[in-house]
Amino acid sequence: MSDAQEMTLEEREASIGGIGTARKRKEDARFIRGQGNYVDDIKLPGMLHGDFVRSSHAHALIKSINSEEALKVEGVLAVITAKDLEPLSLHWMPTLAGDMAAVLADKKVHFQNQEIAFVVATDRYAATDGIQKVVVEYEALPPLIDPKTALDDDAPIIRDDVADNDEVGQGKRHHPNHIFEWQVGDKEATDAAFEAADITISEDIAYPRCHPSPIETCGCVASMDATNGKLTVYGTFQAPHVVRTIVSLITSIEENKIRIVSPDVGGGFGNKVGAYPGYICAAAASIVTGHPVKWIESRIDNLSTTAFARDYHMTGELAADKDGKILAVRAKVLADHGAFNTHAQPMKWPAGFFNIITGSYDIPVGHVKVDGVYTNKAPGGVAYRCSFRVTEAAYLIERLIDILAQKTGIDKAEIRMRNFVQPEQFPYNSCLGWEYDSGDYPTALKTALKAVDYDGLRKEQAEKREKGELMGIGVATFTEIVGAGPVRNCDIVGLGMFDSCEIRVHPTGSVIARLGTKSTGQGHETTFAQIIATELGIPSDNITVEEGDTDTAPYGLGTYGSRSTPVAGAATARAARKIRAKAKKIAAHVLEVTEQDLEWEIDRFKVAGSDVSITMKDIAMAAYSNIPEGMEHGLETTDYYDPPNFTYPFGAYICVVDIDRFTGDVKVRRFYALDDCGTRINPMVIDGQIHGGLTEAFAIAMGQEIVYDETGNVLGASLMDYFLPSAVETPEWETDFTVTPCPHHPIGAKGIGESPNVGGVPAFSNAIVDAFAHLDVTHMPMPHTQGKVWKLLNELGLNK
């Protein structure tokens, strides 16, 4: 038929560019030319700019807001306050966690930089001029900053609006500043195990408040078309369909009259999951003025108001026998959620999947209790490059097992080997309720130890210690839980967390596919095409992948929590398989054989035992011209995939650091990361994800923290103070892998984007603490800034 027939099987396979190939990225062509289309690049006729007057106080009553002078500023058209939004019921908005959040401060402010008024002007300079002229009169209230005092009897009450409610969306609560209590596990059995154990350890481990801080901040352009009543919002949305439904629910505009578009998004990392006041105000302003309205967040606004992460104050405990075998785990957490509970977790999971604290270890019994509290800080609690609260959990267990190793005198790698869930135990039911799908932890760790010559490193460390030098070896063997998730236990505002893919094969054999997810840099246009390429035998170069426009893409829950590949990737494979099943019928019809006579070979159906075949390309044409009787024309389908389980990627990381005992400078000498994400779709993209995730882990472990002073001033919410590592600080990364396919995913993939963050943070922390382990140091609070390390050196007298 064509040249293809002269190609060998291998050549044909290679020409497809399917699963497993390090295919170059399709999206790069526009980005390297400066032709990306990010939200701030969008310019509509008559577009106005809006920006916020923000609170200088952390906690205060608003006595008055005076806009008179602002409205005199050239170019300023409107100053919108809570009072103006109230008639539309838009001054407060429901959160994904069942709470309410103020869109514009209503009678009081709850955190510094909270949005008070939205100034709408002809351009961003005029808006800024207007903001300077709005006068807000406050009556200061005592602020509550330390979450540990939030539940005191005399604590200032932050949320007067819900002070008398005995719940705020996530179950019973017992104090006006209390949000929820969440418990899982067998408390009695756990307590009994601790009573009886030979060895117990306990440590207070805080995971500081940090921020995802993608280089592009949040923003939107809202445009109400008065002639047809349709509201279009372009914005930095990781989950555009969810935004559409929520906008419909809170504005009562029918969903067919709302179009949400995520254009190119400059990184998300959890920052762009939530709904922020800027989106609502821009939409309201567009409705009121009849003009498109743009809102773009400044970096300071970004760091101080939208989407902080972590702020988990944990006490972790392990009970073990003398051989270091863990008998029980116990954790108590105080979760600081800021002024409104706007964390973005599946609704039934107020503390996310924190009960993955069993990690990679076979622990018979455990108990977890998490209490969420309000403070006068920015709201949030997003999953910063991790599945919901999984990085907090991994950090806790990976620190605890190191502490147990120190207490028992067992080597830190060895104690992990002794406690691993064994390959033959999968599917493994953890004591805290998860069914781990697959894994081979011992092989991963053994491979890692060999790669870095772990024994040699330990020897070197011992020699260095003799000489008074500080060298640390950090081991982390993490297990993640990602791919939310099964609709039976995962939903957001009642929407099941399935995802979707629609595939259309054109008559000449090329394809357009659309998904419910949204790439924020992960390269979906490239990798999802590879899945289809393998399934359909159509070259990935002939497959266009689109996401992010709710008018065209099938409904999906979006991209976060490493769910794109586990959920939408599965939908993609299944949609392609539905198409192949139809193609087979057409092939049988065209070749005048039965389906049983046919076998699939790379890009075609072949009559078994003969040379007769028909390529997918030719079947595509036949689908529009020559089909069996009773069949519908076309070669298109959509799949909505409800995953039967989560996926459980894992890995073994080893970090080696050298610490200058006089200056506290920490040098990362080596970082080796072995990841197992199941089937590998594009090794180049996977390595890129790991490099990026490890760099974010490095940032978190070594320097990121959003700090508040005792009056609630947010200190250092600019890139002057908030640590985003440059190329100079960032270490070199070594990557490696094993492949343990996911048994329940159509192509066996588990997801990779977040593993390096989840595993990386404890690997760094463990390495730094390990450098001091011979001096009985068991824990050091993150972030490990040079100043903090120096302080410890000074306390220990090592810098003399």
Binding site: R25, R33, I215, G266, G521, G688, G692, W733
Partner: protein, 162 residues
């Protein structure tokens, strides 16, 4: 507000415009000229997303007034390719997977463009120092270093062949 007349060369073309004295160069480029390839990540001269090449130097255009560029020669990402032919740096970023979300990429490329003129054969460490004013949250820099190395080698080979 009174405006001021400026004229400058941008990507080889002369441009004349009236701007307010307070207009930042990045806003002038993006909003007046629709050259949206250069991005804004902080407006405080930390992230480098706005990097352009002005009179043979890398500058952060969020911290320069448009009027300061009067009479100057400016190169932005839109001027890096030679028609449809990609600059070796663009090719390097594509080949070495030197970008993910692409937001830092234009600034990174324009910085690297100047770096390779300052130092045509940089070591990996020199590359890292050379791009340390440009932040990337996605790539972890390793592939960016490789991409710049790729371009340096390609340019040097081409020159060696001449």
């Amino acid at each position: 507000m009174s405006s001021q007349k400026i004229s400058l060369t941008i990507n080889g073309e002369s441009v004349e415009a009236e701007v307010e004295p307070r207009t930042l160069l990045i806003h002038f480029l993006r909003e007046e000229l629709n050259l949206t390839g250069s991005h804004i990540g902080c407006e405080t001269s930390h992230c480098g997303a706005c990097t352009v090449d002005l009179n043979g130097k890398s500058v952060k255009s969020c911290t320069v007034f448009a009027v300061q560029a009067n009479g100057g020669e400016l190169v932005t990402i839109e001027g890096l390719a030679n028609g449809t032919e990609m600059h070796p740096l663009q090719e390097g970023f594509y080949e070495a997977h030197g970008l993910q979300c692409g937001y830092c990429t234009p600034g990174m490329l324009i910085r690297a463009y100047r770096l390779l003129q300052e130092n045509p054969d940089p070591s990996d460490d020199e590359i890292r120092v050379g791009i340390s004013g440009n932040l990337c949250r996605c790539t972890g820099y390793q592939n960016i270093v490789e991409a710049i190395r790729y371009a340096a080698d390609k340019i040097n080979q081409a020159e060696g062949a001449d």
